[in-house]
Symmetry: D2
Subunit: 336 residues, 4 copies
């Protein structure tokens, strides 16, 4: 089935292939119609080559220790699913050697220096021009971009749900974003917080007034928000319940029109109107589904936005950005 697939494909590399987002990148890129996965590397220097058992028969390569030179040679594009300080160090070197970079960390997401220094203190100066890779918003800038900073999982769901409303002047009150996330969002490193027996049968709020994704959401919306993430006992998926008020007289039809116009050509945003979406319908896909309910007398609005944190919230969106950046169909390799 791989016969002839290498012709006309973009050679790509993945750094951070052992983590959850990294494994998804390997899975997506190994069977991508326009990519050839030339390298997959894991950041823990000491680890020997190893296979990813869940990917056998899909990808028969091995994960190598991270090696900048090897990553820069051959691949025309590199996907970095690394801690932000590693991304901050490696990305400029890759760019300098002509490799286009799709970074999944927070290293390059915040444009304001003071904000960035506060939330990502280890990331140093920012290299050249960065495109914030939310394709539904920046499709044009992504074409030929060299450094794409892929949004965080929470901001992706929040910004896709709120930006059309803010832009259209339909937000007239405080914004509260109550996010519920599956535990894979916390990464692959074991901890007490992500120990099975602590999460099972429980829900916990965390990062109140202190989560860096709040800064990212505020940057992309241009307004302040109250953002509280929660761990819920499932593996993959985020549901955000967003509360605000619309200006007096705003109708349900006006809201539907704004969303419809914004996402008319967005293959990965699905609008569900008054049938509020649930996590199950987007898990293991690259979709972000958005529904909403308005209480016209009071102007109170509830929007619900769901996505798979490892796909539309991480690896899938990175591949979507790659597709656009290299001029392929946005959906290539993502409709599985």
């Amino acid at each position: 089935m791989d016969t002839g697939r290498q012709s006309n494909r973009i050679r790509v590399g993945v750094a951070g292939a052992a983590g959850y987002a990294g494994q998804e990148l390997v899975r997506l890129l190994a069977r991508h119609p326009h990519a050839e996965l030339a390298r997959a590397m894991a950041s823990s220097a000491s680890s020997p080559r190893r296979a990813l058992p869940g990917l056998a028969h899909l990808w028969n390569g091995t994960v190598e220790p991270l090696d900048l030179d090897a990553l820069a040679e051959g691949p025309a594009a590199a996907f970095l699913a690394l801690p932000e300080e590693a991304s901050a160090e490696i990305a400029p070197q890759l760019l300098a050697r002509g490799v286009r970079v799709f970074d999944l960390s927070g290293a390059f997401r915040l444009r304001d220096v003071a904000t960035r220094t506060r939330w990502y203190p280890k990331t140093g100066a920012v290299p050249g021009e960065i495109v914030y890779g939310l394709p539904e918003v920046q499709r044009a800038q992504l074409l030929d971009a060299h450094l794409v900073s892929c949004p965080g999982c929470y901001p992706t769901a929040a910004v896709l749900a709120l930006r059309p409303l803010v832009t259209a002047g339909l937000v007239a009150g405080d914004i509260v974003i109550d996010a519920k996330s599956g535990v894979s969002g916390a990464g692959k490193a074991p901890s007490e917080r992500t120990h099975f027996s602590e999460c099972h049968g429980s829900v916990s709020a965390y990062g109140v007034f202190a989560h860096r994704h709040a800064a990212e959401i505020e940057q992309e919306l241009g307004v302040g928000v109250t953002f509280v993430p929660h761990l819920v006992p499932l593996d993959r998926g985020i549901l955000e319940t967003i509360y605000t008020r619309v200006p007096p007289g705003t109708t349900e039809a006006a809201i539907a029109e704004v969303y419809g116009a914004t996402y008319a050509n967005a293959p990965f945003v699905r609008l569900t109107g008054g049938t509020l979406p649930v996590i199950k319908q987007v898990a293991y896909t690259n979709f972000c589904d958005i529904g909403w309910m308005l209480d016209p007398p009071s102007g109170r609005l509830v929007v619900v936005s769901v996505l798979d944190n490892l796909l539309k919230g991480a690896a899938g969106q990175a591949v979507q950005n790659f597709n656009i950046a290299f001029g392929f169909d946005e959906r290539a390799g993502l409709l599985a």
Copy 2:
């Protein structure tokens, strides 16, 4: 082990013993130091007597078909874990025959007739004097009460968290209550919504602008709220994340003082301050744990309230009300 336990015990009956809250009532009352469980009945008329396998060796009785006469004879108190229309029909008859009633349905919770008619249309007129059984608020009125209407699970968590703040004048903004509930809150009757494969790995919002518990919360607080409940993939427990703003200048210490003073003598409310509580620490207990975080510059306040929906949110609270109403220690039979 039961030798001699019958002396000086209050004879009680349970109607609705086959449901989740009903089974908890049977379990709690079967080993209550001051109660003798004389009758346990299930509402489905056609069902024969049956044992509750999980309660064998704890309670050796059988669940009988619902029979008003049998329930009224002998027991001095009846716990009703029935659909509201059944409670509305039965409770007045039991009261007329001298049986004190602890009702777990919504039949008697709303005092305003129009509101009550809207949300509980099948419940008809309300019998005499009703005490809303939130013991931390109405401890005095509960003593010698004859009809106690036990609060809903969501209102219990919300009112315990918010009422002290509202009363103290510490709420100065919209109130948003984002509730996450385990699936046992939806009862024991199978449905597509509570089918395992639909809930597992998913989260769903429901009842937006249309949940009758919102009316109950607003009644007890005297202010409006936005309330959105969610089903999360666990069995027992509720976590409510509550968002509002406090008046300018309000300090964290002021909030802590209000809570501390309100619940100084409440054995089942535990204040956790800035360490936000999680469901796991209250599941299978009668506690409601409350924590909070304030962002002083903005006055934004986040309160988190957790409880077990079948205990503090249903059967446990009913027994707590019973304890107070009959003059026993509030904690009797509830510290297991």
Copy 3:
């Protein structure tokens, strides 16, 4: 992206598209490179047309009420994910009208009339020639088959694990198959057994000495087995732990050789040797992973076989059979 896809594609229909296996069929066939999904029907006669929200943007058709004539017109192949009695009635009529049938029910799995009558009493006589669709075993017979009876989920995992050993004479003791299944295997109809609160936090054995899949396994192996299935609290996936004894002197290498030779060309069977496979690595894929451990002194052998019950155990395997039957690459549309 769908441009030109209709050329040279096989027109197919799905009956039973509203169930879990049916939805997977729609998802797989909607983006299959060699199929055109012409019809999707649900068996409940009264249901109106409806969309499958999770498939929006992947498949924009609607599910229609089941209509035999419409299913027979146009499609060259029909996938039946129906109750066995419905399959038994419909399949012969489709065959008579030239439609090739891939049946996912148990209607046509058992060859022995008495056994079949015992376990599937409502299925009547069997039409003509049937191929049991376990591609790794019957690849040759599948080519040009007209009625393919797709194996049950439990038998797929068991037969793939055991048949090579039985055939090679490596089974010398009783066979015990302890199967653990996710709840989606019980279908989409709500029931007390599959109610979230009954399954969560629990495990239950069922069908002891009375599960029709045992008869199917015994038919395919030619030997008796003890088979006990269990419901475990997850959605998708089966893990079977298989216990037997090998003849004295059998080495681990001999077992590995038998498996390796049998599955050398099987793209969807992955051998993991002494690293026993887990459900997570096959969920949402069409793979069956098999590992084993031998205790040479005693000759005790433990084999572990895992698959996704809705894919390799149902819809995925049906599509795999379709691929072979129509001469396509076995993997077409299944490596997502």
Copy 4:
């Protein structure tokens, strides 16, 4: 409520109070009618005093660093929920100072020196007389015992199910024990194996032919077994499915009679006959429920045994042993 409770109570201490079994010990002993919890200690020497938030209002003490002198002074009995090497070191010193020891580790379970050295190599020599604390089997020896070695969680379920049959000569074939355990059985220390995202949606077999509980089961039964434990995605509970054959002519009644006679006076063993028990009915209790099904023609027998690994499989059983050893009602403090 604690008024006067200290009179006539046995002063006890808990070492290992921060782990899952240790927390259950604290919870049980804090409200035990005949015990006074004088000390609770955690083994990690560096940890400062800390509260157990889930136990606030139930137990208002703090967990102290482990201190042998403090543990030996005052308490008449010590419960050790420590790693086996710590138990092996501490228990003899406590015994020498007159403290009766209830040990939950594996340090003292195996009587055969060679077997013990193989599975618990760090535990050194065994001190004096040890009673294996399975109360349903050794009730008489427990009275006045000084060192009680509490059984492992898996052996408790297996031995209670199998010993009556073996003793009665009703086992005539190989014994296979397929155990499914909740993840709390793996302890509180985070690891990749117990990371939420690895366990959720998955099942895994482990310890095949290499689990020390197999040796313990074989010791207590006097016959060999094949034992394979599995992790299933739930927190608390074990279900063991046990396969064997009975002698020709054995009837279902004979099996029921053996079980009934053995457990007629066992308050914590519940026999469910042909209604196989499920984990949910024993979780959070000290019960072990046992059911069975016989296929008379073949003599194949399936027994299902369930318990809560932290209670009947650990802390509950230790308290049950304490009750018997000190002459209290076996059920004291355990029927919550």
